[in-house]
Symmetry: C2
Subunit: 488 residues, 2 copies
């Protein structure tokens, strides 16, 4: 079964598609660029969602829901925003179908043309700030700390499951504040929440930084990003948090009365992560045998397999173990399928990325032990049945840590510091990965590098070595090194 | 503040709109027929969702996600379905906007016309069964027990927040089975889950029954429904579960190999409840002072108000009480706002339907007690501080029970049994409510009654008095009494 997966070395892109398919995470659909998220893939997203939702609520946010549709004219109200988002999108022009007068099936009823076209939201700043105008009158109404879990649509030309799809699921936070400082603080707070989620739950190390002006969100004053390295050494932008200044407040005329009774425009932030994270999770940890999942996000953390088949005494012992694990909050599945052989099952659970497999056979029972196999290292260990629960609980923590450390080591190995543009080009060609280099801060230089090498500035890091230098391309002064990479 | 709400007696419909607005459940949006669900309204939906999701998972279902868009041709594949759903809907015809060549703003790019129009899903049977064709080959692939949480769009002409909106949130279950019996069993199981949720969580009593052929879901062989009575004595269809036979399997050519290696069409069920339930919840329990929420679904169950103002010793005691309540899993808010007076706050929390209010003043502290006010009965009681936690925990159960009993008593009082059509008409006119009457089982008679009285058959009950009789209109034999009512 495992051999149905392409090796990473041979074709990384096909390897990813194979895992998505064989681990049953997603399927193509009849609609161009839209995927079907299958139960296993959706369960991973549900786990991400539950944890992120908790983190948002713990930091004072509440959820709400805004309309799917945005009147076309709204998109034009913020000058940069329209350039970024009002292009490839799904446009609703009619509200009725009718029986085909000239044949079978249904056709669009020409008399049901909308006065103004509606756009399926590509992001919701415009419709939300149009609403905030009614919700905000005075400083007492601020801050508004609202998040929305929703689907959005961007008519992407080249799609890939989870990483880039026409429709995707995400959360989008939209907050309103009385001062610039508060709004900036909020966007930094969420930046930190995203980084913490990526490292502590996804076991995916990220670099925190700011986007360059050229890579900023359309309508933002500042965009913070978390950037992760995939196993092909390309960068994945995993989440962004924007300080929007007063841009949307001005576009939608959202003012408030200060405590000194002065009228001022409201300050804003917005931030989002999406089902793209599922793609990032897959690409960070998986191997040539299939999916590898960090225990904290695995829908099933432990599977118990009776060997060679589900004999009653083995199932009984399995139930006993499962009960102990469930009491510890661990999710367990017992495989009682008598129609498949253990070898087949092992390959299947490796494919599906279940972090721990417990095998129990009659011999094991006699010896009072079970065989515990880790998905991450593929190590197998005989473990005494008394104390097995505690062992598994600790092992899940160990696996979670190991995955993060392994990914960190991989990223660090593949992060290079260069001082000249020639060196930059040869490192990019020969090694790839993240390249730390000095840059003069101009869009011109940034675009020149992008055009000549396809590498973009992933971010201006906010931690680590922030000392100044000279631009590798122009020799002009550089405030600090930035990270270049090829990206998804 | 309370006086801003219209009395139910004066204008029931306006009373409902007032509550939705003043309790901050939802707002109108800039898009016709689409509402904004505000944080308080969304928190109620989140609580409903969490409980329903648990009930679905406990009965073996998993979640997945299917595309928002449905190719137009799919809707025509099931003959009844197209009549029911392919009419008033949002039609996507283009995938790009461009800068207006003749002025400002953006316009639809005529060169970006889709080859086939896409419909924003009004319900997902078609796209899902088109997918199931790839997922189902043999009896080993069955049953498929899948649910989806999603937004759907139906271009309704007359809308009302929660009860009928162009876009709404819902869950839709779509299951596939090897036999007719299993699929029917599934639709009955969910019917039961819905009824249990309505009664045990919403405290909203429902009548379980089957829809008549005329009122069935478009494409269903049998539709089961739960019907609730609102305070204006009109019926609300609160949830439906459909046995779809092989209709969608035939339309989308979904066959499986039986264990005897014979090819057969797959059997189906589908079922859904929506944000309409939030409207039902409001209309079942609320009163002229505002929202009344059953404790099990209230986002905040208890509010603690220091009287006359948030003095440090009162806040300290409040924190202590809150801690005790939180340890019992009760959600508590302490009101530390010094800018508003207790009377104003009391009215506000009544408006928002918080089930229990605890008032603590310096005098109370001296006496070692607090004042506990119930939202449902408006009773106030002095309660000893030691034992307050247990008292509140019990009180929440009492309130939940009381709301259900009160709603049940109201429904029973307003359910009438009639034997002649004349009596039917006069009861309907003078008393309203549910009317149990004999019906000959024909669509003809059903439509005649509907046309002449505006009452529809809400359901053919599956419990209670199922004895036969004679149709009140035609005198022909009737298998059992059915329930007529005017409905939302």
């Amino acid at each position: 079964m495992a051999k149905e997966i392409t090796n990473r070395q041979d074709d990384y892109s096909q390897w990813y598609l194979d895992i998505v398919k064989k681990a049953q995470l997603a399927d193509n659909s009849a609609v161009r660029g839209c995927m079907v998220i299958k139960p296993t893939g959706y369960a991973i997203w549900e786990n991400m969602k539950a944890q992120l939702d908790k983190m948002f609520k713990d930091t004072g946010h509440v959820n709400a829901y805004f309309p799917l549709f945005i009147p076309k004219s709204f998109l034009s109200k913020e000058a940069d925003h329209v350039e970024g988002f009002a292009k490839e999108c799904a446009v609703v022009t009619h509200h009725r179908l009718m029986n085909n007068p000239n044949g079978s099936g249904v056709v669009v009823d020409p008399s049901a043309k909308l006065e103004e076209e509606l756009i399926v939201r590509p992001t919701s700043e415009t419709i939300i700030w149009n609403t905030y105008r009614d919700w905000i009158q005075s400083y007492r109404d601020l801050p508004l700390l609202i998040n929305q879990w929703a689907n959005v649509v961007r008519w992407e030309m080249r799609t890939r499951p989870f990483l880039r799809t026409a429709e995707f699921l995400w959360q989008e936070g939209h907050t309103a504040h009385a001062t610039s400082e508060e709004a900036l603080e909020e966007s930094k707070l969420i930046h930190e929440v995203y980084a913490r989620f990526a490292e502590d739950y996804m076991a995916m190390p990220v670099i925190k930084g700011a986007k360059t002006a050229n890579e900023r969100f359309a309508g933002a004053v500042e965009t913070f990003t978390i950037e992760a390295m995939m196993q092909d050494k390309k960068a994945l932008q995993a989440g962004t948090s924007h300080f929007l200044g007063q841009n949307f407040a001005k576009a939608f005329d959202v003012k408030y009365l200060t405590s000194e009774n002065k009228e001022e425009y409201v300050w804003a932030s917005s931030w989002g992560v999406s089902t793209r994270l599922v793609g990032g999770l897959v690409m960070t940890h998986s191997d040539d045998e299939g999916l590898v999942l960090p225990p904290k996000l695995a829908p099933t953390q432990v599977v118990i397999v009776p060997i060679p088949k589900p004999l009653p005494e083995l199932l009984e012992k399995g139930e006993e173990i499962a009960k102990e694990l469930k009491a510890k909050g661990i999710s367990v599945k017992i495989d009682d399928d008598a129609s498949k052989r253990p070898g087949f099952k092992f390959a299947e659970y490796e494919m599906k990325g279940i972090p721990v497999r417990i095998g129990i056979g009659p011999r094991d029972l006699e010896k009072g032990q079970a065989e515990v196999a880790r998905r991450d290292t593929k190590e197998k260990t005989g473990v005494r049945l008394d104390g097995l629960g505690q062992y598994i609980e600790d092992l899940l923590v160990t696996i979670q840590d190991n995955l993060l450390n392994k990914a960190k080591a991989f990223r660090d190995e593949n992060t290079h510091t260069v001082d000249s543009y020639d060196e930059f080009k040869s490192v990019l060609d020969e090694k790839g990965g993240f390249i730390m280099a000095h840059w003069d801060g101009t869009t011109e230089t940034e675009l020149k590098v992008k055009e000549e090498t396809k590498a973009t500035i992933r971010c201006i890091p906010i931690e680590g070595d922030l000392s100044p230098g000279e631009c590798m391309v122009t020799g002009k002064p550089s405030k600090q090194r930035v990270i270049f990479a090829k990206a998804y």
